[in-house]
C-alpha cells in the first residue's frame, strides 16, 4: 500500500488522499482514538487548568468560575508569580535546583564513561561479565528503598556509616539532618545506583568497534594506556556528547521522589527544590494558585532549556531530539 500510493501517474490532492486513507485505513483511525483520548484527557486538559495560576482559585467556584487574581482590590493576574519571586522560596529553590543539577552532571556524566572504559579493558571475560551484572543491579532498586537504605545507614550512632566511622575513631554525624551533606548524599547515591546502568550504551558502542584498530596499534607497539587514550576514548566521544546534550536538556528537572524522600524540615534550606515546593504548597497547604504559578514557571524554564539545547546541538553536532 505504501508503494501503491507512490506509483500513481496522476497526483491527487490532499483531500483525495485523506478520503482514501480514511476509507482504506478506518481501522487504524479507530486504533488511534483511545490513545488520543488519553492525551487529551490526562495531559491537555490539565494544561488548560494552568490558568488558575493567574486566578484566585477557590474549589467551590471551579477553574473558570474563580475570579482573576486581585491584589488590594485591583486585578493583577501575575500576583502569584510576584509572590513567588519575592518570597524566600524563589532564590532557595532555584539555587538548590541548579546546584543539584550541576553536581549531578559533573559527577554523573564522566563516571559511567570512565567505568565503561575500564570495564572494556578487563581481559578476563568472565570477570567482565560479573562486573557488568553487578554494576547494573542497583538500577533495579526502587527510589524509596534506596532512600530507606540511606536513612538506615546514615542514622547517627546506629547507622552503618557511623558504625564504620566509629571504628576509625571518628565522631558520629547525623548526615540526613545536616543540610551540608544533602547534595552529596543525593548525588553519590545516584552514582551508586545508576553509574553501571549508564555504561550499557558505551559498552554497546565499544562492542561494535573494529578490532583491527587495536591490532594495528599493538603491532606498532602501543601500550594499553595508549590504546585507551588514542582509540577507545575518541571512539566513545560522539556517544558521550550526545548523552551530555540529553542530560543538559533535563537540567532543571530534579526528580521529586528522591529529594522528597530524603529531605527533612531541618535540611529544607539545602534540599528544597521547585517540585517539592509545588507539592508542599499545593497539596499540603492547598495554596492552589500559588503552587500552580510555581509549577508553570518551572515548566516554562524546562521547555525553554530543552528547545535551546536542542537548537544548539542540532547546529553544532547535528544531533537533535525533534
Amino acid at each position: 500500500m505504501q508503494k501503491a500510493s507512490k506509483t500513481p501517474v496522476k497526483r491527487y490532492g490532499f483531500r483525495h488522499d485523506l478520503r482514501r486513507s480514511l476509507r482504506r485505513n478506518w481501522a487504524l483511525y479507530l486504533l488511534v482514538i483511545p490513545g488520543l483520548l488519553y492525551f487529551i484527557l490526562f495531559l491537555y486538559w490539565p494544561m488548560y487548568g494552568v490558568i488558575i495560576a493567574f486566578k484566585d482559585f477557590s474549589p467551590n467556584k471551579g477553574i473558570l468560575g474563580s475570579p482573576w487574581a486581585t491584589y488590594r482590590g485591583t486585578v493583577d493576574i501575575f500576583k502569584h508569580f510576584k509572590n513567588f519571586f519575592t518570597s524566600i522560596h524563589f532564590y532557595r529553590t532555584l539555587r538548590n535546583t541548579v546546584q543539584i543539577s550541576l553536581y549531578t552532571l559533573a559527577v554523573g556524566f564522566p563516571i559511567p564513561l570512565i567505568l565503561a572504559i575500564l570495564m572494556n579493558e578487563l581481559q578476563n571475560q568472565r570477570f567482565k561479565q560479573i562486573v557488568q551484572t553487578v554494576t547494573y543491579l542497583p538500577h533495579f532498586i526502587s527510589t524509596i528503598v534506596l532512600c530507606g537504605m540511606l536513612w538506615i545507614f546514615m542514622r547517627s550512632d546506629t547507622g552503618l556509616f557511623n558504625i564504620l566511622r566509629g571504628k576509625l575513631g571518628l565522631p558520629s554525624i547525623s548526615f540526613l539532618n545536616d543540610g551540608r551533606y544533602f547534595k552529596s548524599i543525593y548525588v553519590w547515591s545516584g552514582v551508586w545506583q545508576n553509574a553501571g546502568w549508564g555504561t550499557i550504551i558505551y559498552m554497546a558502542t565499544l562492542s561494535s568497534l573494529d578490532t583491527q584498530m587495536y591490532e594495528a596499534a599493538m603491532i606498532d607497539g602501543a601500550s594499553r594506556l595508549q590504546t585507551v587514550w588514542y582509540i577507545t576514548l575518541p571512539c566513545l566521544l560522539p556517544t558521550a556528547i550526545m548523552l551530555l546534550i540529553l542530560d543538559c536538556g533535563s537540567f532543571m528537572s530534579v526528580g521529586f521522589e528522591k529529594v522528597f524522600a530524603l529531605q527533612t524540615d531541618l535540611t529544607l534550606e539545602a534540599s528544597d527544590v521547585i517540585s517539592t515546593l509545588v507539592y508542599r504548597k499545593g497539596i499540603l497547604e492547598t495554596s492552589y494558585s500559588f503552587s500552580s504559578a510555581v509549577g508553570l514557571f518551572n515548566s516554562l524554564i524546562n521547555c525553554f532549556l530543552l528547545v535551546t539545547v536542542n537548537f544548539i546541538s542540532r547546529k553544532a553536532a547535528n544531533i537533535s531530539l525533534f
Partner: protein
C-alpha cells in the same frame, strides 16, 4: 574484543604484555574489585541485618555474617496486614497497569508506523508537545478529581497510560520490520487489524518484552501518584507503605499490638529495626529474581532508545 585480538596474536608470534600493561591490568582489576565491594556490601548488609539480632546490628557487631540467626522479622512482615495489603495492591497495579500500557502503546504505535496513515505527523506533534510542557501538579490534581479517579485504583493505572518515549521506541521498531510481510498479507486480503494481530504482533515480541519491563518496573516502584492521589489505606501500594516504615518512621500495626503485650519498649524498638531490613528484602525480592532474566532486554531497550536519539 581486545581479548580476541590477544588470542589471535597468541597463535603465532604472541605480543608479550609489557610491564606497564601488567601494572595497568592489576590496577584496573583492583579498581573493579573495589567497585564490586562498594555496590554489593550495602545490599549484603541489609540481607544479614534482616536475619540478625538487631541489637547486635545497631552496635556494629554484625558486619560480615549474620549473628543470632532468626526469622522473627520476616514473620512480622508477613503477618502485618498493612504490608501485605500494600504488596497485593502493588502486584495488582503492576499487572493490570502494564497490561493496559502495552496494549494502548501498541495500538497507538502501529498506525504511527504506517507511512500511508495520514495524520500521523499531527498525532506525533500532539504527543511530542506533552514531552515538553505539562499542566503541573495542581491543575492535574483538579482534573483527576473532576474525572473522579482520585482515591480509586484507576489513578494508579490510567495516568501514564502511554509514555511518549516508549511509544516512539515501539513505532521505530515496527518501522524497522520488513514491510513486505504486511504488504503480502494485504494482498491476501487481510485487514489492518488482522495484519496487526497476525503479522506485526508476533514480530514485536522483543520490543514488547522491553515495554513490559520498562512499564512494569515503573509501576512497581512508583509512589508519587499514590502519595498525591490516594489516601485510602486499603488502596495504598507497597512503595507508600515502605515510605511510612523507612522514611517517616510510622509504626506498623503489628508493633502497636505488641506494645499492648508484655514486650518491653526495647524489644519493640528492636523488632521495628529488624522489620526495616526485612521489608526492604521482601519488597525488592521479586525485582531481583526477575533481574537475571530481563537483563538482556533492558540493555536492548537502552540501545533502541539510542538509535532513535
Amino acid at each position: 574484543m581486545q581479548d580476541v585480538t590477544r588470542k589471535a596474536a597468541g597463535h603465532s608470534n604472541r605480543i608479550r604484555a609489557t610491564r606497564s600493561d601488567r601494572i595497568f591490568d592489576t590496577v584496573n582489576i583492583l579498581i573493579m574489585v573495589a567497585i564490586l565491594i562498594i555496590i554489593i556490601y550495602p545490599l549484603w548488609f541489609v540481607i544479614i541485618a534482616s536475619f540478625s539480632n538487631s541489637q547486635l546490628v545497631t552496635t556494629g557487631k554484625v558486619l560480615i555474617l549474620p549473628k543470632e540467626f532468626h526469622l522473627q522479622a520476616y514473620r512480622k512482615v508477613f503477618s502485618d496486614n498493612r504490608i501485605m495489603t500494600g504488596y497485593r495492591n502493588t502486584i495488582f497495579y503492576t499487572f493490570a497497569g502494564t497490561f493496559l500500557n502495552v496494549i494502548f502503546t501498541l495500538s497507538l504505535a502501529y498506525p504511527l508506523s504506517r507511512k500511508d496513515f495520514m495524520g500521523r505527523n499531527l498525532i506525533m506533534g500532539i504527543m511530542s508537545v506533552t514531552m515538553f510542557f505539562g499542566g503541573g501538579l495542581i491543575p492535574t490534581y483538579l482534573v483527576y478529581k473532576q474525572l473522579g479517579i482520585v482515591n480509586t485504583f484507576w489513578v494508579m493505572i490510567l495516568p501514564g497510560l502511554i509514555s511518549v518515549y516508549n511509544c516512539i521506541l515501539m513505532r521505530t521498531f515496527i518501522q524497522g520490520l520488513p514491510y513486505d510481510l504486511q504488504e503480502a498479507a494485504m494482498i491476501d486480503g487481510c485487514g489492518n487489524i488482522g495484519i496487526l494481530i497476525k503479522v506485526v504482533l508476533p514480530l514485536c515480541k522483543p520490543i514488547i518484552a522491553v515495554m513490559v519491563i520498562y512499564y512494569g518496573v515503573a509501576h512497581w516502584n512508583s509512589y508519587f501518584n499514590a502519595l498525591v492521589y490516594l489516601s485510602k489505606k486499603e488502596l495504598k501500594p507497597l512503595a507508600l507503605i515502605l515510605r511510612e516504615i523507612l522514611v517517616t518512621n510510622t509504626t506498623t500495626a503489628s508493633e502497636m499490638e505488641s506494645a499492648g503485650g508484655a514486650e518491653s519498649q526495647m524489644e519493640m524498638q528492636r523488632i521495628a529495626e529488624s522489620i526495616k531490613y526485612s521489608v526492604i528484602i521482601v519488597s525488592t525480592f521479586p525485582m531481583l529474581c526477575l533481574y537475571p532474566f530481563v537483563q538482556k532486554y533492558f540493555a536492548k531497550g537502552v540501545m533502541l532508545g539510542a538509535i532513535k536519539g
